[in-house]
């Protein structure tokens, strides 16, 4: 009795109290209060819509670029405007479309693929989404006032430094994009924990839907790939706002430092975009080839291997910067090695198609095949430009433009269209039009090749990137004209797609009903559109394609035969399972809709928006809003019902609250600190890098009383010890100990931070003096920032303790805060080593 139509569902609702409870528990608030909703289906849908909105904006910018370049010596757009337009085209496509779009699709679809009711931290997803929307709009606003950044999407210094870009443009970029990275971190933590811990029982690692594997790698790559950019952003903004000379060559800084930090992020970024695209292809191709994915373990190898190797490629964007040729060769080697897993993937797709009984050429499959074709073509030129001598020739020409558009369009844009055609019925309950799908695919595929293939030739004929116009008769005229015609074909194709997606199929599309594609994965187990709670009951899974291997599974899920089939207490909840084997371990009580995430996001947006204009006092007010919203948000954390067991059905009960390193809360804190640590390591890298490039300036030895540094180190350790004692006392049930420990630790930590800064003052080191002293102060500032955040955490913990929310049985928030506190101690110690020991040793 799987629900094969919406009517079945309504009928069942009348007879079946469990289903009714689930539907009312998960029903979104009505009217304006709907904005409070945090459920992944709602947030995912808004996310996807917003992603497509930014895609269209960036596409319009591309159309302007192609209009300007269609004929030589064109004066449609001025040079200044052109710089802003191409910068914003790249920035919007990369930061506001590509990465968020992949997060969007994953946030919507991953819980349904995994039989979870929601992601682990629905409010974090909601916060991330609103941050993304507001940040994106903030960055785009700069275009309306003609003050947009104009230094290219990678914002190279010194062009974007205080001397050559005194306006607000780079600040919009640095603070706006820096803000959007918050959304990326939120999504990455959400997805990693969701995939590792929120799978249905029986879904061990070897049975995960392949898309989940890709998104797991994606999550870890964001976690380690974004921090260098965050750090680079901070350093550049601090240089612009306060004149700390990290990139100023006159004072020991180096513009190449920016390039390193940017590409340490920027190259993994390419794969952060490509891997989800490949995940979509690995999902869609088996469905339409009607065969399981060939070589599952090989594809997992490809995803994981690509994830690793992509971190060894960053210098291939910097071949022409004068780095020793031996170093370049290491990166060239890694760039060639990464072709191996990419190739394996492509062969696995071909093998899948081969092994099936024949391909169904429906719209998602057309887009998938188009993606393979375009991506492979881009991959081949990729192997060419991975070679140092070839790159010397084509660097900064249209050849490179052609290469990376092939890779990104094939690796991300086409898969996104495939994914939207494939998964849209989950939202609207209707299939998109096949006829319009063929038209949009045809126009986009042909148009793309018409637009970008000639660019290889324009590049080989020497046309440089980023020029707003060019003289006639250099052999570039007709090639550019063809490219522009192709670009407008793509635009027409996108218009056809949008018409169908936003309007036509909703009115006239075929009703999708039950499993319209005959797919094998769980999101299609019942009638479309899917419910807010994903599954009537959380199934036990025994294969990678449960719907193919157990045709009656959907029936049993909908009959409520498995876990959590009802919700008599009207609380939203989901199962937590073991990371590797997927055995049920805990029932998670999920939060209900609330205003706090959206208020925190508005506060954060206000903070970054005001920072652009250096209105620091108003920034502080905005920070206060964030803190208050955050505390309200966290206040109901750690629900502990009595008794601490919940009947999950099938005669089993599971605990609701547990403490320890295995909980999703602790993992979230740990992952956040990994992100933080990666940014801190990037700062250490910056110090070492500046040391290797400075011939006549070595890191100054702070000639301070050694007492300062020793006191700082001792006090930091003491603070940690106090906190440990407090946590230990709590475990023993001593409320006084719990309060006294952190209260004693706090002044110790403050004194430690004070001594750290005191040592710099005492030595007379000023941050604007040279790049090294600026780095020293950044170390101190980094530690100080953590002490500040740690202080808020301490008072929050104490308030919880006084409200009776911290007990020996309910100590998870103390554990999380303690982890943060020890981490801060670690930062203080490493900062001291870098400031006081390192310059003496070298």
């Amino acid at each position: 009795m799987t629900f094969r139509s919406a009517r079945d569902l309504e009928e069942a609702d009348r007879r079946d109290p469990g289903l009714r409870q689930l539907r009312s528990t998960w029903a979104p608030p009505k009217g304006f209060a709907r904005l409070k909703e945090i459920n992944n289906t709602f947030i995912g849908m808004l996310y996807v819509l917003t992603g497509i909105f930014f895609f269209v904006v960036a596409g319009i910018l591309a159309a302007l670029i192609r209009a300007q370049l269609a004929v030589p010596e064109n004066d449609l757009i001025s040079a200044d405007w052109y710089n802003q337009i191409f910068t914003m085209h790249g920035t919007t496509m990369m930061f506001l479309f590509a990465v968020p779009m992949m997060e969007a699709i994953a946030i919507f679809v991953i819980p349904q693929l995994l039989g979870a009711r929601d992601l682990p931290f629905p409010r974090v997803s909601a916060y991330g989404y609103w941050a993304y929307l507001l940040g994106g709009l903030m960055v785009l606003t700069s275009l309306l006032f003609k003050v947009a950044p104009d230094g290219g999407w990678f914002m190279y210094v010194p062009l974007t430094g205080p001397e050559y870009s005194p306006g607000y443009g780079p600040d919009f970029w640095l603070l706006g994009i820096g803000f959007i990275e918050v959304a990326a971190i939120a999504a990455s933590i959400e997805l990693i924990i969701g995939i590792l811990k929120f799978r249905p029982p029986g879904m061990s690692m070897d049975r995960m839907p392949i898309f989940a594997w890709y998104m797991l790698v994606f999550g870890f790559m964001i976690l380690l790939g974004f921090p260098p950019l965050v750090l680079g952003d901070i350093l550049l903004e601090v240089e612009r706002a306060f004149d700390w000379p990290f990139y100023d060559a006159d004072r020991g800084g180096d513009p190449l430092l920016w390039q390193h930090l940017f590409w340490l992020f920027g190259h993994p970024e390419v794969y952060i975009i490509f891997l989800p695209g490949a995940g979509v292809l690995s999902t869609v191709i088996p469905v339409f080839a009607r065969a399981p994915l060939a070589g599952y373990v090989w594809v997992v190898l490809a995803a994981v291997g690509t994830g690793f190797l992509s971190f060894g490629l960053w210098v291939h964007h910097m071949y022409t910067t004068g780095i020793p040729v031996m170093s370049l060769s290491f990166f060239s080697a890694a760039s060639l090695a990464v072709a191996i897993p990419s190739g394996i993937q492509v062969f696995a797709w071909i093998a899948t198609i081969w092994s099936g009984p024949g391909v169904l050429f429906r719209a998602p499959m057309l887009y998938a095949l188009g993606a393979i074709f375009i991506f492979v073509a881009g991959g081949l030129t990729g192997v060419m430009v991975a070679l140092v001598p070839v790159d010397f020739q084509v660097h900064d020409t249209y050849f490179v433009v052609a290469h990376f558009h092939y890779v990104l369009f094939g690796g991300a844009v086409m898969p996104v269209f495939a994914a939207l055609h494939y998964w849209t019925p989950l939202v609207t309950g209707r299939l998109m039009s096949e006829t319009l799908g063929r038209w949009s695919f045809g126009l986009i595929f042909l148009g793309f090749n018409v637009a970008f293939f000639p660019m290889h030739l324009t590049g080989l004929r020497g046309m440089p990137r980023r020029v707003y116009t060019y003289p006639a008769d250099l052999g570039w005229d007709w090639l550019n004209m063809i490219s522009s015609i192709g670009a407008y074909m793509v635009a027409a194709g996108v218009a056809v797609f949008l018409w169908d997606w936003l309007y036509w199929h909703r009115k006239h599309g075929q009703v999708a009903g039950y499993n319209p594609w005959n797919a094998g994965t769980l999101e299609w187990h019942s009638v479309t559109p899917s419910t807010n709670f994903s599954m009537r009951s959380v199934p036990i899974v025994s294969s990678t394609y449960p719907l193919w291997d157990e045709p009656e599974l959907g029936d049993r899920v909908d009959r409520g035969e498995f876990y959590l089939p009802d919700s008599p207490d009207e609380r939203r909840k989901t199962l937590r399972t073991g990371s590797v084997m997927g055995e049920p371990r805990q029932v998670i009580f999920l939060p209900h809709p609330a205003w706090s995430p959206i208020i925190a996001a508005i506060g954060t947006a206000t903070f970054f928006g005001l920072a652009i204009f250096k209105l620091w006092w108003l920034c502080a007010a905005a920070a206060l809003v964030i803190i208050i919203a955050g505390i309200i948000w966290m206040w109901d954390a750690e629900p502990l019902p009595a008794p601490n067991r919940y009947d999950v059905g099938r005669g089993e009960t599971l605990p609701v609250h547990i403490n320890g390193a295995d909980t999703h809360g602790f993992w979230a804190m740990a992952l956040l600190l990994i992100f933080d640590a990666a940014a801190f390591v990037s700062l250490i890298f910056s110090a070492l890098f500046l040391w290797t490039v400075n011939r006549d300036l070595s890191p100054p030895v702070p000639e301070a009383e050694p007492g300062w540094a020793l006191a700082a180190a001792g006090l930091a350790v003491l603070a940690s010890v106090f906190f440990r004692l407090g946590a230990f006392a709590n475990r023993r049930g001593s409320m006084i100990g719990l309060v006294l420990g952190p209260l004693a630790g706090l002044p110790a930590m403050f004194a430690s931070g004070g001594a750290l800064m005191g040592s710099l003052f005492d030595a007379g080191i000023s941050p604007t003096e040279n790049a090294f002293s600026a780095v020293y102060w950044t170390f101190a500032g980094w530690t100080g920032f953590h002490i500040g955040v740690g202080t808020i955490f301490i008072f929050y913990t104490l308030a919880r303790a006084l409200a009776g929310k911290v007990t020996p049985e309910r100590r998870q928030s103390v554990m999380n805060v303690e982890l943060f506190w020890h981490f801060t101690t670690g930062l203080a110690l490493v900062s001291l080593i870098m400031i006081h020991l390192w310059p003496r040793v070298i």
Binding site: V304, V325, S329, F330, A334, A337, S579, V580
Partner: protein, 124 residues
Amino acid sequence: MNVIDRDSLVGMVAGPLVWGAHFLTCYIAIAVACAFEFETGGPGEWGTVKTILLAVTGIALALIAVLILLAWHRWMQAGGFEKPRDSTQARHQFMAVGGLLLCFLSVVAVIYAAVPLFFLPACQ
């Protein structure tokens, strides 16, 4: 968590981690050596840094070889190519083969990175 445990995800990606360590060592060694004009040897002769990096490459390859043996052993324990009887065996096969393949990829990547040591001057 036991890293060489059959169900360890960290164990599965140990090969690429060795590659990462080797890659970073090579990059940092050359960057520092060239910045401070340590003795690196001219074209065609072996300098100190090159010798060290070759040794590091040897160690990295040896480590991966050990990991390959471990993964191979785990795979054979899980029945090798045999069709798995139950979900535990299937999972063990998957984790072992996954680790093994990642090790092979790492061997190739480490050798790729070492090739230029034989042909190129260090700092030019």
